[in-house]
Amino acid sequence: MTFFQNTRTVLKSLFSRPSTLMYPAKPAKKTENTRGHVTINPAGCITCRTCQRKCPTQAIVVDVKEKTWQIDNMRCVVCAVCVDTCPTKCLAMDTQYRPAMTARGGVEKFTVAGPKKKEPAAAPADGVKPKEPKE
């Protein structure tokens, strides 16, 4: 290897912007395909338990009697199988990763509409929703 063969690389690196992002000051690059985390629209869930059966890490627990849909984010590996198999398409994949959490804070419980057709439940909200749909 002769002298000055790497000069092009050196000059390019010298005069170009850094390859790294100042994360978290600047958001990380995300594409529309990125698997970030699973979200649910509680109004659409019919508690069919398909997602619970298909989940390879058993992160999802659906309680048909209580009408709750629960995900343990520390178990979830974001494979998107639940999103693909959901018959009512009430599960969706968000492109942003979840912020850091503890094992105890990873469990999220949603009260869902349940199997019967009725007026749609209240707008989806984050976290635990104690309100039961009127029977």
Partner: protein
């Protein structure tokens, strides 16, 4: 004869993030014997096959390794498809090949970076990983994951790539090829690098064959063993030659990986030109009944998945033989006679992935 002492190497070592433990028996500064120990990260993934449905196990098979993840899932689903006699769509075969070669590119770039870092060549390490980032970005844009792609499934693939995106990927690779030339020039022609690597840790061709070396370790010793030539996936429609070097030293193994980058780009280019239109998956019913040895070429060498089913949703047995596992006996041979200071570099040249080897 001088006194022999034993120096432990690993499982925690600054140059090697992998938990491999070697007891080095030294005479003065020279290694005369090596006793390898593995078993620090065993996870029992093979046993899980009895608890999960065969379709869900793809995601677990993919998590056997954190680098060659996609090719593990590809090998597993190929085995299942062979048992069930499925003819998966052409386009899915091509897409699997493209993603597989992208995985190889990012794995080799990762290794070149780590290797440069192991030699103390920090700027080349940064450059290699900067180039790897483009590969990971393309993978994320097409599959949704950067390393754990999660696109393989029994009966095809889960995502399609649009023709525009394929063209864009090809343009990106063509632009990258010149930068890769600059990078591999350093490994192949730089005086300090070749002075450090040439004649170090020589594995003879006969030894490589007898000890069952696979992948770049075997090809660096003059054995043209490349499972891609058996034509799995879309490789039977792709024109390519295995990269072989004759010397069997660290330089040869490094050169094999550096030159394979360009082979992979060439394969991806051929795939993108030949890829047919059509569906990317098919409906799968029933469960596998039978057994199959599925073989593919990973960045580190040949991987074998043995799969046995009995017609139920859960498989009976799954056994993985990973390339690092078979490359440990050659590693013991080629470490004999090297200086203690060269041991990290020699260990790095087989590209050990212990997480893979222990499952």
């Amino acid at each position: 004869m001088s006194k022999q002492i034993t120096v432990p190497f690993g499982p925690q070592h600054p140059v090697l993030p992998e938990p491999l433990h070697l007891d080095l028996v030294l005479e003065d500064e020279t290694v005369v014997d090596v006793v390898p120990t593995i078993g620090y990260v065993h996870r029992g993934l093979e046993k899980l096959v009895e608890k999960r449905e065969y379709t869900e196990y793809v995601f677990i098979a993919e998590r056997i390794c954190g680098i060659c993840s996609f090719i593990h899932s590809q090998t597993y689903v190929q085995g299942i498809e062979q048992i069930m006699g499925l003819e998966i769509p052409e386009r899915a075969q091509y897409l699997r090949t493209i993603w597989g070669e992208y995985s190889r590119l990012h794995s080799h770039l990762l290794w070149l970076g780590l290797f440069a870092d192991g030699m103390g060549f920090e700027s080349v390490f940064m450059n290699a990983w900067r180039l790897r980032e483009h590969i990971l970005d393309d993978l994320e844009a097409t599959t949704g994951g950067r390393v754990i792609l999660g696109v393989c499934k029994v009966g095809g693939v889960r995502k399609d790539i649009t023709p525009e995106k394929l063209d864009e990927m090809l343009r990106g690779l063509k632009a990258m090829e010149r930068e890769l030339q600059d990078l591999t020039n350093v490994f192949l022609h730089d005086n300090s690098v070749s002075h450090r690597l040439k004649g170090l840790g020589v594995l003879k061709k006969e030894d490589a064959y007898q000890l069952g070396a696979v992948g770049p370790t075997a090809r660096g010793s003059g054995l043209a063993i490349d499972i891609r030539s058996t034509g799995y996936g879309a490789f039977d429609r792709i024109n390519f030659r295995p990269v072989v070097e004759q010397d069997g030293d660290c330089y040869a193994r490094c050169a094999v990986r550096a030159r394979e980058l360009f082979t992979s780009i060439d394969i991806i280019e051929q795939c993108i030109k030949k890829i047919p239109d059509g569906p990317v998956d098919m409906k799968v019913t029933g469960a596998p009944d039978g057994e199959y040895f599925s073989r593919t070429e990973q960045p580190r060498g040949e991987v074998i998945h043995y799969i046995k089913g009995n017609g139920k949703k859960n498989l009976v047995r799954h056994r993985v033989r990973t390339p690092t596992f078979t490359n440990i006996p050659p590693l013991v041979t080629l470490l004999k006679g090297v200086e203690l200071a060269d041991v990290p570099v020699v260990v790095l040249t087989i590209d050990p992935c212990i997480g893979c080897a222990e499952r």
